[in-house]
Symmetry: C2
Subunit: 483 residues, 2 copies
């Protein structure tokens, strides 16, 4: 117990420093350096036990050589920040050390999950919050659930007879959608070539916080007619794409899905949080017409990892699709109402308790607290957008996530063309590598389609202020000006 308190001491120090801007975001080392062992810190496992003193050193060093994802200058991922209530919730969860499969061993957590999912469905706009859902280990698995449930709804016999019982099924998503839709099509036995990737509107970069993948529907129609003999079964509309933060026009897509009786899934892993904001939820207009929705509170809402929900409008499908009625867990002759044993809906057996930290944060902030947080994150994005819009040396393809190129002075006078493209492609990786070695800040970059590497800037950490945005820009210019 004394040991546990000493660990708490290490952890609270770490948390304090994380919010201190004079602390580095990371202390970068290459894999071979860490593998060779740093002074007093070896990753190797041994036959003999180590002393508690050494274990404390191991804890300290694990944090020292890690990345401070809660630091106000860590912008590298869609998930960032370190909410103290959420953290306390996660510590309690680990201490309770239980499993979501039955009411029997997780009575409080099972009910919290049920109530929270209902609340989320109300916010989506399904009447009385009716429907179904489950928390899953991340957005990729949530999206996979959506494809499974769509298949079960239209071809329930696949559960027993396999894919051979269905015609050749095709799925649709935009080329900017998350790669988990493609993973799902491989995993579930559809095959990735039966996932049609629709081109998006290239005028995207001109849109200002309204962003719609406009060509989507047109192209989609072309595809449907081109694939005669195939059966369209599933359309994914992205609400907040991973790179650009773009929103597909859900209502327009829903019209088509309703007409042709196709399952409509909305992947709001990133953008779902906007539903909490009266100001911004219009970007998801039509979401109530979806058959299923992925929504990750661990992204824009700042809940600690992992916390992802798949919500389904029709009740009973998740259960029908996944239940196997294991006799050793789901005994029908228990003394309580066994409809609360929700574990058989899952593709997992044991399931981590992801609900408590989220429930506790919701209690503590209230719905309005989440709204304020979301509004603030988007304000900061807008601040950055306006800051660099007319600043010399920047170009932007998009800006819900603020995506931009920094163009070093040496490239600014080059004519557009292959040479400039190739040199610009190397700028973001170089700046990023220097950032990591200095440990001052972290931001993501990637190429996309025919676009060379650009930065993607996202804000989901409540600790971020305008000064941190300013810092990022200054740092990019400091590191990049001589490239």
């Amino acid at each position: 117990m004394q040991f546990l308190l000493e660990v708490v001491d290490i952890l609270t120090n770490y948390v304090r420093k994380t919010f201190d801007r004079s602390t580095k975001v990371l202390d970068f080392h290459h894999p071979h350096q860490l593998l060779e062992g740093m002074e007093g810190f070896s990753l190797e496992l041994c036959d003999q036990p180590e002393s508690l003193e050494q274990i404390l050193v191991d804890c300290r060093d694990t944090l020292k050589y890690g990345v401070r994802t809660g630091h106000p200058r860590f912008f590298n991922q869609l998930s960032s920040g370190l909410d103290i209530i959420g953290l306390a919730g996660e510590w309690l969860t680990s201490t309770a050390n239980t499993n979501m499969f039955t009411y029997e061993i997780a009575p409080v957590f099972v009910l919290m999950e049920q109530l929270t999912l209902k609340k989320m469905r109300e916010i989506i706009g399904w009447p009385n919050g009716e429907g179904d859902g489950i928390f899953s280990p991340g957005g990729a698995i949530s999206n996979m659930y959506s494809v499974m449930v769509a298949r079960y709804k239209h071809y329930p016999e696949v559960k027993i007879k396999g894919m051979a019982a269905a015609p050749r099924l095709v799925l649709f998503t935009s080329e900017h959608s998350h790669y988990s839709i493609k993973k799902a099509s491989a995993v579930l036995g559809f095959g990735t070539e039966n996932l049609i990737l629709l081109k998006t509107d290239e005028s995207l970069k001109d849109l200002v916080l309204s962003d719609s993948c406009a060509c989507y529907l047109v192209k989609w129609f072309c595809c449907v007619s081109a694939v005669q003999g195939f059966v369209p079964v599933f359309v994914n509309a992205t609400a907040g794409s991973t790179v650009y933060g773009a929103f597909d026009p859900i209502n327009e897509i829903a019209d088509i899905c309703e007409k042709y009786n196709i399952w409509l899934h909305v992947d709001g892993a990133w953008g779902g949080g906007l539903l909490m904001s009266r100001k911004h939820r219009h970007k998801l207009n039509g979401v109530e017409r979806a058959n299923s929705v992925t929504w990750n509170p661990h992204k824009m809402m700042g809940v600690p990892l992992q916390c992802s929900a798949i919500l389904v409008r029709e009740k009973g499908l998740l259960q029908g699709c996944n239940s196997m009625c294991a006799g050793y867990l789901f005994q029908p002759d228990k003394q309580y109402d066994v409809t609360y044993d929700t574990g058989d809906k899952a593709i997992q057996c044991g399931r981590h308790v992801d609900i408590f930290k989220f429930w506790l944060m919701w209690k503590s902030k209230g719905t309005i607290g989440f709204e304020k947080h979301i509004d603030r994150c988007l304000e900061l994005s807008e601040y950055l957008y306006h800051k660099i819009k007319n600043r010399e040396g920047y170009e932007m393809p998009q800006h819900t996530n603020v995506c931009f190129w920094y163009i070093p002075p040496s490239l600014r006078l080059l004519p557009d063309g292959e040479e400039k493209r190739q040199r610009l492609h190397k700028v973001a990786p170089k700046i990023k590598a220097m950032m990591m070695e200095c440990g001052t800040t972290m931001v993501g970059y990637q190429p996309q389609g025919d676009k060379v590497n650009f930065f993607r800037m996202v804000v989901s950490n409540p600790a971020v202020t305008r000064s941190d945005i300013d810092f990022l820009i200054d740092e990019i210019e400091r590191l990049g000006q001589d490239l």
Copy 2:
């Protein structure tokens, strides 16, 4: 920060009481009671924030109405116990709040995972610990990985073309295997009817800690010849079945798999821990011949939830099967060796850090510490077995997991037959319900095949002593004698 320390105070009190046998295992309430709200504790979420004082009350009450899975008299699940080092590891993990997809944001954890998986493969017996693997969100997902990888090995074109590109594939497992194999066959598009459930040897109950599903091979041969035109692609051998704790004879099954070029998976979710014990690992003889192995340190090894590994003998298959090369995460032009970005092997995108608590426990106990723990758990099972073997009023079908009926005095003189069966079937649920209402202890029960409800007793908590085993038996007799 003060708030966090107050939560720590609540948690350390909870931990202390969990190990105190005078504390109840649970304070049972029906779902409707908790939903209506207990005094001062409401599960409902509101628009407005709650005070920090109320949040502390919520934390306390969440624990109060939950189940103490670390209590020495909680025997209800394969996962139990509360290891303090593991708990500290989990608290640190939540504080670090990062994600396993890239070395970039989880450098230390990625390397720990790699080294630990290698160590596990060495213990399995693969030369130099070569091979591959990943930690997944539970044994069901680990088993699903094994089926996916088997399919990819034999029919890699399914990834792109779907199940239509393969002949009708059949999978084999025993009727006592975990239901996740069946789930995987549904999810992945094989269909549950293409999973052949093999009958096991009914003489099981006579075996004393050696347990083999003897009829398995014979029946399996019959099946293969019966299903002409189908292609056998996967066999699951269970190492520690969920209910009986029985072990399939891996070597005999491996002979067949090698002869017919079929993927052999060993589901050691429960029994894998025995590999750490020189005394007991013979039960998994032949495991080194498997193509893949599921092994859940969160079960017999007492690591906090969740901690499950899928280990694969051939390198590269996991990556080949699952990779989608997302450009925004797995940039090839990073400054470090990007082979350490292991996230694209997973079916998840974000992935919870499950490795640290396990690594820390291994450091702290050493390999020999895990061995001692395993040996002790099996000794206690043996103690229970001998205790009730000749005791009046008990019958046992099996005993690695000690499975038994308690027969109340009123039933002992009844002749065997339908009436006795029906009455005996109700005994375990009744005793269990009374246990839960008294809160004194918890143990699992289930029917199996044509057997009526029986208790399943498992020991994985290091805090359990013989006195707790004695207590369980006394409690069963106290509650059951008048039934």
